[in-house]
């Protein structure tokens, strides 16, 4: 049982992890060892105090080196569900379970808005996690929306199972060469179906499918668990970064604008201190 589970590895997650470490709180950190794609792709960051006019890649390298120096581990798993129990939360990553007394949501704001039908068919043909649900689609036809190049290994994994994969890449330099993968251009507008997802609809066309994988850096918090208060698409928090749910804190872009690295880092720090006080 961990004192805390941090979900997300952008500036807020990095800050929360460094501070929990400094406060000697045990934690597990779900994210990407490549950290946030959004940071890495920023051209120039002019107003982050301490790092003058860095590129996103430089900031990301500075964060990585600092995390390694502090001997902090990142667990590269996608949290697909969070369930409350007495005095703790259970986090589901595919078929693996983890337990933590508190959670810090630092999931960022998806550049990709949810598609119509996405939450409706979640668990009924829609999945965020290739390793969790891939086996369900052995020999079937699936659509895979992939938001970043780092997730191509999950596309390959799905291609090894499914008969046919329609890949909708939202990044450049696609390097998938599996013969059963067909790249599709355009952004899907809606997932349709009766009991389960059956059709992925584009502006002028549609794909008949058995399932849809949405490979994102993080599942939207509203999909991870229910009951979390939001406001205008952001998680509602107070000045201590506490959400409406006891023991669940949030930090960074997911709590609202401005979408700024300094704000995210500050909120990650505050959330970590709130976790510390909560655990006392």
């Amino acid at each position: 049982m961990y004192g805390c589970a941090i979900i997300g590895s952008g500036a807020a997650g990095v800050s929360a992890a460094l501070t929990l470490k400094a406060l000697n709180v045990s934690f597990i950190w779900f994210g990407s060892r490549a950290l946030s794609q959004k940071i890495r792709s920023a051209e120039n960051i002019a107003n982050y105090p301490g790092l003058a006019n860095v590129s996103g890649a430089e900031m990301s390298r500075a964060f990585s080196a600092q995390i390694d120096g502090a001997e902090i581990q990142i667990t590269e798993k996608t949290v697909t569900g969070i369930y409350p129990s007495v005095g703790k939360y259970t986090l589901l990553c595919g078929d693996e379970l983890f337990e933590a007394k508190t959670v810090i949501l630092a999931t960022g704001v998806e550049a990709v808005k949810p598609i119509r039908g996405e939450l409706e068919f979640l668990g009924r043909g829609v999945s965020y996690c290739a390793t969790c649900d891939g086996a369900l689609y052995r020999g079937k036809e699936i659509a895979v929306l992939c938001t970043q190049k780092e997730l191509e290994r999950e596309v390959r994994f799905l291609a090894s199972l499914a008969r046919k994969v329609y890949l909708i890449p939202l990044y450049k330099n696609v390097e998938i060469t599996e013969p059963n993968v067909e790249t599709v251009k355009g952004m899907p507008l809606e997932i349709q179906g009766k009991e389960r997802a059956e059709r992925l609809v584009f502006r002028d066309s549609a794909l008949e499918i058995d399932g849809v994988f949405l490979l994102k850096a993080a599942a939207p918090p509203s999909a991870m668990f229910s009951g979390l208060e939001t406001e205008g698409g952001h998680i509602r928090v107070n000045r201590d970064m506490q959400t409406n749910m006891k023991g669940i804190f949030a930090a960074g872009d997911c709590t609202g604008k401005p979408y700024q690295y300094a704000k995210a880092a500050g909120e990650g720090n505050v959330a970590a201190h709130s976790v510390y006080h909560f655990l006392q």
Copy 2:
């Protein structure tokens, strides 16, 4: 007339200045070119994202270089009063006036708590500003509580005017050699008097004086202007860093715990964005 006046040059002030600059808002920044003494004297900062295990001196150098690179000026004056007028605020620095449409208070938390009587006798024998009020004490006997070495030049200035200066230094390596300055040990507990300050009381002794100068990095916001809502000694703000007064924002340690550089930098960033939206 400036779009904004920032008061304080710790991490929150630095962050606010960098962000206002990036947002192209005109501003005047009151603080110390040596930045925050608190930062400079920190031994090791382990959890500021992007700067791994830096000393306070290193962080301060990084901030300074970044400010210089962004061509941002610091005005080394002490704001002693803030007065509202229609659509703007007037800031008093001794006998100089400045005007700004908004204010960001980033004054930090005084390591030195106010002494009993300090606010009561402010302007009646108690002053925060040597250059503002020194001339009133020509030929008189004064006590000078000095919180940091950088302010010794103000002590010397006062010694050039007053007949006798009782210096209470709260720092090491005092280098004041003026013959009319007598160093006093201990921390004063109370300022007493009838109409005006007359006596500075210590645990086992008292000094009869004509005035008391309290030389701090920043005057407490409650002394600068009235009407500001506080809570437990901190300025009350919402998630946008807005205080209860329209156009007045606050950021950093002065808004509450945790007293952390990342939090301060994040809040300075948010306050700057709020100023930007306020001015639209």
